[in-house]
């Protein structure tokens, strides 16, 4: 299964991310309990033919009892189990959560490596793509071309 991570962003960036993702037929778009997560997810779904609505998942919601890394592991487990058999899923999450926790966890980096400072950059509205399965593979990380083109109409699909 291929997981696209789109980091929460303002409406303009979200629209651009949605346009960029329009050529990727997603099986689901998931988000947590933040307003920006919801609006980013809505913008992505808007450009999807098969989807009507994104889905809020509890694992992506604020959680005071878990550390960010524990929450990242819970999100990864949930995605792996729940979307088994799906081809393409997009997860919307805060940029810092992706950069400091989830990116390393989805790449199956050890706690030791993360404790030693391994992390990902975090740009709001960026898109990253990972293979989820036995191996850990990043197709690309923090793609931001869609945020930089002068006219959103110029955005090409993946």
């Amino acid at each position: 299964m291929r997981l696209y991570v789109i980091t929460e962003c303002d409406d303009s960036a979200a629209d651009r991310a949605g346009r960029q993702m329009a050529g990727v037929p997603l099986d689901a778009v998931i988000y947590g309990d933040s307003e920006r997560g919801k609006s980013t997810a809505d913008a992505v779904v808007k450009y999807q033919e098969k989807l009507d609505t994104p889905e809020m998942v509890s694992e992506l919601c604020e959680n005071k009892t878990l550390t960010d890394r524990e929450r990242a592991k819970a999100v990864k487990e949930m995605i792996t189990e729940r979307f088994k058999g799906c081809e393409k899923v997009a997860a919307i999450m805060p940029a810092e959560f992706f950069g400091n926790s989830f990116g390393a966890v989805i790449m199956k980096m050890s706690d030791e490596a993360i404790d030693n400072g391994a992390a990902f950059g975090c740009h709001e509205g960026a898109i990253s793509s990972f293979a989820v399965g036995t191996s850990a593979e990043a197709s690309f990380v923090n793609s931001t071309l869609h945020l930089k083109v002068s006219d959103p109409e110029m955005i090409k699909n993946f």
Partner: protein
């Protein structure tokens, strides 16, 4: 330290065998072309586009592996740099599976890469490794060793806001260099933490002086994806 990593442009080895005859290569390399393929015309164009985009970055040092496609890509990128630095060849940046091969003979450098100054790899290499990776060294332990040796060398020589470019290949760059920069454990690397590298993709890892290792982006091919006529230098990293 900011480490930019570029994969070489499309080489004759990256295209279907039946198409290779249509791609030119230098007569000097006739005997070596199979093991050490040249860039295709498209590969050279890709490297020009990457070089143009990278012209907004000023590199303090540029390193490449000893293979023709790796040196040529670095040389084309260097053409677009205002600050001219010598290209330093490091055996440790060679691709996996080419152990025992020293790379393009240094006596060909002047004719193949006339526009740049190149420091050939010494033996031992500046990283402390051998000038030619021995054929017996390249199991997973060998890959990790040269990845870590390379990173240790870079960390000794550069720090702070120093900015360097590594020109390498897909397997070594994506499966070894980035994991080594992230200081992943043996188990991490052996279980296949792989960053996909398309031809002339650009990736960047920041190593901070307080020990953080941040993959800012990987496999960026903006320079190949822009609408025709768009100036890639308007697209900051």
């Amino acid at each position: 330290m900011y480490v930019y990593i570029i994969r070489h442009g499309q080489s004759r080895g990256n295209i279907d065998y039946s198409l290779r005859d249509a791609e030119p290569f230098h007569p000097l390399k006739t005997e070596l072309e199979r093991k050490d393929p040249s860039l295709t015309r498209l590969g050279r164009e890709q490297a020009e586009l990457a070089g143009k985009r990278l012209s907004q970055i000023e590199f303090d040092a540029v390193f490449c592996g000893p293979l023709h496609r790796q040196i040529d890509t670095a040389a084309i990128v260097m053409k677009h740099q205002k600050k001219k630095v010598k290209i330093e060849v490091l055996s440790d940046l060679t691709e996996v599976g080419l152990e025992g091969y020293a790379g393009t003979p240094t006596e060909f450098y002047g004719e193949l890469f006339p526009d740049v100054e190149i420091i050939p790899c010494s033996d031992p290499s500046p990283t402390g490794g051998p000038g030619v990776i021995p054929s017996s060294a390249e199991n997973s332990e060998g890959f990790r060793l040269r990845g870590r040796r390379l990173v240790e060398y870079l960390k000794k020589r550069f720090s702070g806001s120093d900015t360097i470019l590594l020109s390498t290949s897909a397997m070594f760059g994506g499966a070894i260099v980035i994991p080594a920069l992230l200081e992943l454990t043996d188990n991490d690397i052996d279980t296949g933490k792989n960053f996909e590298f398309n031809n002339t993709c650009i990736s960047m890892v920041e190593l901070t002086d307080d020990g953080k290792k941040i993959v800012h982006f990987s496999n960026d091919i903006t320079h190949l994806s822009l609408p025709e006529g768009e100036d890639s230098t308007k697209y900051p990293f």
